[in-house]
Symmetry: C2
Subunit: 488 residues, 2 copies
């Protein structure tokens, strides 16, 4: 097994990864809230953890990857007051909340598939685990870390902090948090403004609600991840991922809930993906710089010069390390697109390379560097840089400036199929479809007619064919092996 190092947000150190059960990894990633189109920042997070999942499997781990769907319980403001986000949207559209949920869940799956993200092993929903959530609320109550107030149940942060460290993940101090708290609606039910709802009483107008020992209500948002990670990965598991914005309060509360329920500290390695910016500014709807994945694909947004395919955007995202911010700009995207096309062209060339007796290129070294990059906290930008070294080798071998042995050629294929296709998840659009075959057939015929014309000394026709092909952006190249063609 490779020696993999992971930056652990909890210890703030790069640590050697040691799984709890040899060869197995439990991976939990906070998924989307399905009350609106998926945010591009979330897409980046899910691409980052898709590569984590892919690499863990690639180096031989048996991974159970759980990514939840939040279909209830995400409140409108941090103070836990206000309506459930999904119910509110449903009322506006006059729909059943689960119809809204279905609509946006379908949209989310569609985007994930276009970005070539592998489906997680389990995609559990919050509404699918109401029984288990009620049970965990009861456990936390039994342990004395929560209290019932007016039909809601709140986690008692101050009491918890007497014996445990609330803030250990985010590095926040409870005193600072307290002094920064504003008084907001609904706070009167709490003993302490930092307390958060783990079960929330539903009023009559609330559509999504369930019976519980504390009356009709719905689970607090933070609770579902504690419940579902415990159910599917156990009380202690290997890796928990999510966007950096979830570190506080969401993940901090998750730890508190698991510990408060008597299950102990849940996670060995916390991983957080960084944010997106647009032309240097935070992406947000209100700032008018928040384009959707679909707008990015079509280019249909004032800030975009053109559209970019999902694979180009994926490649672009992976050219930054997941712990760095990633800035979207037309220039940067166009640059990635160029690199992406160069990479894909080299991949195609690789499949047609001819080996020699000896190699003048060092493929073993390239392979080692690729592993080293990924073993260093999934460093995809470095990996991509190494793959571009491979691109150079491919083109040199093709042009006769370098040679490659049969064994090395097989290894080079293995590297590109392994790291570009499998690990980075770049989908190589197959050119073997019928239409391309058709173009090839017709073009072969055209080139034969042109060669015949040249043999017949009908240079006028031969030149006309070349000129007309140029008009439709096809270049033909004559060489001693024959004539080849390519699209410009």
């Amino acid at each position: 097994m490779q020696e993999l190092k992971i930056y652990n947000s909890l210890t703030k150190k790069k640590e050697l990864f040691k799984p709890i059960i040899p060869n197995h990894v439990g991976l939990y990633v906070c998924g989307p809230t399905v009350y609106s189109d998926v945010h591009l920042g979330n897409v980046r997070t899910f691409v980052s953890f898709d590569v984590v999942y892919r690499y863990l499997k690639f180096i031989g781990y048996n991974v159970r990857y759980v990514r939840n769907i939040t279909d209830v319980g995400h409140l409108l403001n941090d103070a836990d007051s206000g309506e459930d986000k999904i119910a509110k949207q449903a009322k506006l559209l006059n729909l059943e909340p689960m119809e809204v949920v279905q609509h946006y869940t379908n949209g989310f799956r569609d985007v994930m598939s276009k970005y070539n993200n592998i489906s997680p092993s389990i995609e559990p929903t919050a509404t699918g685990h109401i029984v288990e959530q009620i049970e965990m609320v009861q456990e936390i109550l039994d342990e004395g870390f929560a209290y019932v107030s007016n039909g809601s149940v709140y986690f008692d942060v101050e009491k918890y902090n007497l014996s445990h460290n609330y803030g250990k993940l985010s590095g926040r101090k409870i005193e600072d948090l307290l002094s920064n708290t504003r008084e907001l609606d609904g706070q009167e039910e709490k003993r302490n403004p930092l307390d958060f709802a783990i079960w929330k009483k539903a009023d009559d107008s609330h559509i999504m609600k369930w019976n519980s020992p504390w009356g009709e209500g719905f689970p607090g948002w933070h609770l579902e991840c504690s419940v579902m990670s415990t159910k599917y990965l156990g009380e202690k598991f290997d890796i928990h991922g999510g966007g950096m914005d979830l570190k506080f309060p969401h993940h901090e509360c998750e730890i508190a809930q698991n510990v408060g329920a008597g299950n102990g500290d849940p996670v060995n390695y916390w991983m957080h993906g960084n944010m997106l910016t647009v032309n240097g500014q935070k992406m947000s709807k209100s700032a008018g710089n928040g384009f959707t994945p679909e707008q990015l694909a079509t280019g249909d947004h004032p800030l975009l010069d053109k559209g970019y395919s999902e694979m180009v955007v994926r490649f672009f995202m992976l050219q930054s390390h997941y712990t760095s911010t990633l800035d979207f700009s037309n220039e940067a995207l166009k640059g990635s697109e160029k690199g992406f096309e160069k990479m894909l062209k080299a991949y195609e060339t690789l499949k047609t390379l001819v080996s020699s007796k000896e190699s003048s290129v060092n493929i073993d070294d390239l392979k080692n560097r690729c592993y080293e990059a990924m073993n260093d906290d999934f460093n995809t930008p470095i990996l991509i840089a190494h793959l571009f070294d491979g691109v150079k080798m491919i083109n040199n071998v093709k042009d006769g400036r370098d040679t490659i042995s049969g064994q090395d050629l097989a290894l080079l294929n293995e590297i590109f199929d392994g790291f570009l296709v499998n690990v980075l998840g770049i989908k190589i659009e197959t050119e073997n479809n019928q239409s391309v075959d058709l173009s090839n057939d017709i073009m072969n015929m055209v080139l034969e007619i042109r060669n015949q014309a040249k043999q017949d000394k009908n240079y006028q026709l031969a030149d006309e064919i070349r000129n007309r092909l140029t008009e439709i952006n096809i270049t033909i190249k004559d060489s001693k092996e024959g004539t080849s063609w390519e699209l410009n």
Copy 2:
């Protein structure tokens, strides 16, 4: 609104459809059990109800279409004993049951998408409604139509039948059912062999289980549909669909549960799709004639001469009425494939037709006949026959044997876009992709060179081009408007 007639399995009559709320339809269809690949018979059922959903929307109804996913509770044998199917499969694979569920749910969604079935408005899961199922069990107990026995809860069929009619949907008599009952394991818990579990006690080895007022257990299979249809469509809703094999006991039990919980008779129109046969025999794995949707697509099964695209199979399925059995044979499939290609070719031709001043064809009549067919209990085979009349018109207009006015041409387009694409859900593969454009560009050049050769009286070159195109299956046709080409 169209006058739609539906064959109601409950009354065994074709009835005029009247929705409970004007302009709105609540439609519930029993979905798949996701513990194995989806059966082709189920695919047919879902295609049939996809067309029902599409047509109801097409004629202006606002439809809420609920199709559940059974991810727990479907027992291995009818006697309600034995293990839950999903848990059993999970143990064999040494997987978490929900991992099995996720795998087959993904596969199911993939098949549905390939068959161009529209996603339902809501796709609720059985595990997502444990709270609601426990509540309905309690309601049935409270009404006196169920009893607790050794940690399980059974529906009391005999008692229910004293005041209601158990068997009204399937036409079975309780006396006959009783005399046909075999003694099976687990029957000793029941008062009567016809009683069915609505909550089943789970032993220690059972993985999928939840706490309930009757101890740890899981819901009976029949229960989820009663619960989810009530939750999302109300106690009384318009249409309930499913395969004919579900009529008894599943749907019979559903009615009993809804009535037994005090909610009244749930459904106005029961619709049942008929079964698949293969070469005249029931399709089943044990008979060796059960090919999967994937095998049907690739042709990779001893009984299949070749593969058929999902759109061809969809077309083939819709060439039978949903209440008729449908027999799969190579001959029948090949026949449908031919018809399908003819239909698609005509659809393409339609888009290039030129109108005249007057029509020699009656498009209004064609339109009326299409509506009549669908209004007659969704008679898709008749609709397709009418569309083939349209195909004849299209080809006649193209060849100059008939003429069509501008207004009629617009209407004819409306009919094909409406009934073929929207209602029947036939996906027209767009030919506007880049590769096809490329082939067009090259072919246009080739044809120009050939025309130039003819003008230059270089008939040798002109003929050679024609012959070489024939070799790659391209036919060119010379006419006074110019030269066109097509793939054979």
